[in-house]
């Protein structure tokens, strides 16, 4: 087996050498370098487009998905080789996508053949950009309290209601959405549907955050008609799919916002000063050291979880633990960066501050969302306590 893997590594290395454009082997300079794809996506860099097309054609944007649905069809071991080869050349991710991270895995598990054939290949190639219609004004942490109504009108579903915190809904082509199909029960009255955002009656409105950016939207559905075939899984069976999707979501987020161009140690050295090789502010130094250790511990734990995960099911309630730890880590990092940079990280705009300084400030503010989006830290600690540790109200 390892012999086959060695051969695969060689092939992979050669292919990447020939196909990964030079500018895609440089570190991303910020969130604006992320490629999200979709019908109306404007590539800032033609090489980014090329890189996505090549990786998408090979199915390597979704390396372990079956080739029948456009995926790479790789084994877990082959995928590890691919990832290490990508890392070796500092390759940028060809595609950032809620379709890849969240929807695809649950479609593979719950969708019918027609739905898989229709949607998965387009996710792999980055042709369709998806958004997530989960939270509502009255359903945040208590997600199952959602009220967006979905009625059976014989030859179609009719949807009315409002979603909120719909990430990038204003750019999305399609929305995977939780809707209420039975008002007499709570969790058992929820269904999982797919909505084309160009359908009449769909409206989005961006929400401005404290960081100044608008990654989230409000999304309104007014008498939106969707085909009967757009429900995934059974009627009123959406909550199970919703929870599984959250496990994938929690595995993939937690680090939004941090200015990754700058290392906190370098920033501290620059602004705080060093004598005899030691940061002059000893208190800050000790806290940065503790943070660096947690960062390492977290990275090692992610690696360990991947190694321990058996083939097949690769998410679990442990995703909640990683979500909490990752969010805390990123927020700590952002706070330490702002502290280390002093007044350089307290600018907002204009020529008095460098782009990096502004990114540090904005990233710090954006990171406040890490412990809220994708399930608050409190909700995720509930999941760990109840589902992993088995602590319940009654025993």
């Amino acid at each position: 087996m390892s012999k086959d893997l060695d051969a695969f590594r060689e092939e992979t290395r050669a292919w990447l050498e020939a196909n990964c454009p030079p500018s895609m082997r440089t570190p991303m300079t910020g969130e604006e370098d992320a490629v999200w794809g979709g019908r109306n996506y404007e590539f800032k860099n033609p090489e980014a487009k090329l890189w996505l097309e090549r990786m998408g054609a090979k199915g390597w944007t979704a390396p372990t998905w079956p080739a029948a649905y456009g995926g790479g069809g790789l084994s877990a071991d082959e995928n590890r080789v691919l990832q290490s080869e990508l890392k070796r050349i500092n390759a940028r991710p060809p595609l950032f996508s809620f379709g890849l991270w969240m929807l695809g895995p649950v479609l593979l598990e719950y969708a019918n053949e027609e739905q898989k054939q229709e949607h998965l290949p387009k996710i792999v190639r980055g042709e369709i950009r998806w958004c997530q219609g989960y939270s509502e004004p009255g359903a945040g942490s208590d997600l199952a309290g959602l009220q967006t109504k979905c009625e059976d009108k014989g030859d179609h579903w009719l949807i009315n209601g409002q979603k909120v915190w719909t990430s990038y809904a204003n750019y999305a082509d399609w929305c995977f959405c939780l809707v209420r199909t039975d008002t007499s029960v709570k969790h058992e009255g929820i269904s999982f549907v797919l909505i084309d955002m160009t359908t009449k009656g769909v409206e989005t409105r961006p929400i401005k955050l404290i960081s100044g950016s608008s990654p989230f939207c409000e999304t309104f559905f007014t008498d939106v008609k969707i085909p009967k075939g757009n429900m995934v899984g059974r009627l009123n069976g959406g909550w199970e799919i919703a929870k599984r999707l959250l496990q994938y979501e929690r595995t993939n987020i937690s680090g939004f916002g941090s200015n990754t161009r700058v290392d906190v140690v370098d920033l501290a050295k620059k602004h705080v000063g060093v004598s005899d090789g030691v940061l002059e502010d000893r208190d800050l130094r000790a806290r940065i050291a503790a943070h660096k250790m947690t960062e390492r511990a977290y990275a090692l734990s992610v690696q360990r979880a991947q190694e321990e995960a058996k083939a097949g099911q690769n998410v679990s309630h442990m995703a909640s633990m990683f979500k909490v730890a990752g969010a805390t880590l990123n927020q700590d990092r952002c706070e330490l960066m702002v502290e280390a940079a002093g007044n350089r990280a307290l600018g907002w705009a204009g020529e008095g501050f460098s782009a990096d300084d502004i990114a540090t400030t904005r990233g710090w503010l954006r990171s406040k969302g890490n412990s809220i989006e994708g399930g608050t830290t409190e909700i995720n600690l509930n999941v760990v306590a109840k589902r992993v540790l088995g602590l319940r109200d009654t025993q």
């Binding site: 140690v265 501290a268 050291a289 660096k292 390492r296 690696q303 321990e308 600690l381 602590l391």
Partner: protein, 358 residues
């Protein structure tokens, strides 16, 4: 890098778990404490050695099993779970490592087989003050005679062979050497230790300088961190069980969110630390060039985690957690001793920062 045990390592861990649960549960430490044995349990040590645990890292040519640090770490974790009072860490890990790394051929021939069989108990004497400070030593060595003093030497009261670290050199001192005075310490963890004084004591110089001392200490730190993960895991599991059974206000207290979140955070902390310790043990077996970083990472994190875990064990048990009758206090006391040995969280944060260049 690998985090999962191979079949051989898993078998060893399972047999260690079974043996310590049956033959050396916490009640054994408690009984020996009450009988004022201060860590002396030669009968248990014979059984441990009989199972081959004393020779896990000793190469086969010297009568050991040559299984490496991941394997010994797995055994040490199990000793941590039931607070086994034995010189396994001091002798089979630290003593054996010192001889492997710094012993002359003759010293290895003479001592390693005896350490592997458990016939000889070895330990390392390093600190001379209240805090871990390996660079600070006033030890003098002239004409084959050693003069100086060491404090709180783990298993120093029962060791047959003492490896003494100066600032830049290592020495072997036999337990019965003339000029060696031991003051036995009755310690909080009921394991005992000793202050040692050397007055023109016969000693044999070993190979290596400060870098080799550091390498030996890193092995000591990683091995002890493995034991500490065992202590923290067991303390956490005992507490978790209590949360599921103790009832107040008509319900189990584990149903209260304030306690659920504390348990979930502690669990997360423990999992992150376990990854560091497994990676550090693996780094030793791979002879990675980042052992020093891993050692400080593992020892600092293990110190923090076992500190938190044992404090939470007392608090979440409420009144019973403060009593001598409950095991919480035994875990708390051993935790603090293990934290301090070979440098605590603060020492290793400082060292880690230095290793990372700030």
């Amino acid at each position: 890098m690998t985090f999962t045990l191979n079949e051989e390592q898993q078998l060893l861990k399972d047999s260690a778990r079974d043996f310590f649960r049956e033959q050396a549960p916490v009640t054994r430490l408690r009984k020996h404490r009450d009988e004022k044995k201060n860590g002396r349990d030669p009968e248990l040590w014979r059984e441990i050695a009989g199972l081959g645990f004393a020779g896990v890292i000793v190469p086969e040519e010297y009568g050991g099993a040559g299984l490496g640090y991941v394997a010994l770490g797995a055994v040490l974790e199990e000793t941590g779970r039931t607070l086994v009072a034995s010189p396994l860490h001091s002798s089979a890990l630290v003593g054996a490592s010192a001889l492997i790394l710094a012993g002359t051929d003759a010293q290895k021939q003479e001592w390693l087989p005896k350490i592997a069989s458990g016939e000889v108990i070895a330990t390392l004497a390093v600190d001379e003050g209240a805090h871990h400070a390996p660079g600070k030593s006033k030890l003098k060595f002239e004409g084959g005679k050693l003069t100086g003093a060491k404090q709180y030497v783990a298993d120093g009261h029962i060791a047959d062979l003492i490896i003494v670290a100066g600032a830049n050199a290592l020495y072997l001192v036999k337990g019965d050497a003339a000029g060696l005075t031991r003051r036995e310490l009755i310690t909080a963890d009921s394991r005992g230790a000793a202050d040692l004084t050397f007055e023109a004591t016969s000693a044999e110089k070993m190979n290596g300088g400060a870098d080799v001392i550091d390498a030996i200490l890193d092995r000591a730190r990683i091995g002890l961190a493995a034991e500490m993960v065992g202590q923290a895991s067991e303390a956490f599991e005992i507490t978790s069980e209590y949360l599921k059974t103790r009832k107040q206000f008509g319900q189990v207290i584990g149903g209260f969110q304030a306690l659920q979140h504390r348990a979930a955070k502690l669990f997360t902390d423990l999992e992150l630390t376990r990854s560091c310790v497994l990676a550090a043990l693996d780094a030793l077996d791979r002879s990675a060039n980042t052992i020093a970083e891993y050692a400080s990472l593992a020892k600092a994190r293990a110190s923090e985690t076992v500190h938190l875990a044992t404090n939470e064990t007392v608090q979440l048990h409420g009144g019973i957690g403060m009593t001598d009758e409950h095991d919480a206090g035994l875990y708390l006391k051993r935790a603090r001793v293990a934290e301090a040995l070979y440098g605590g969280a603060s020492f290793h944060r400082d060292r880690y920062a230095r290793l990372l260049g700030f």
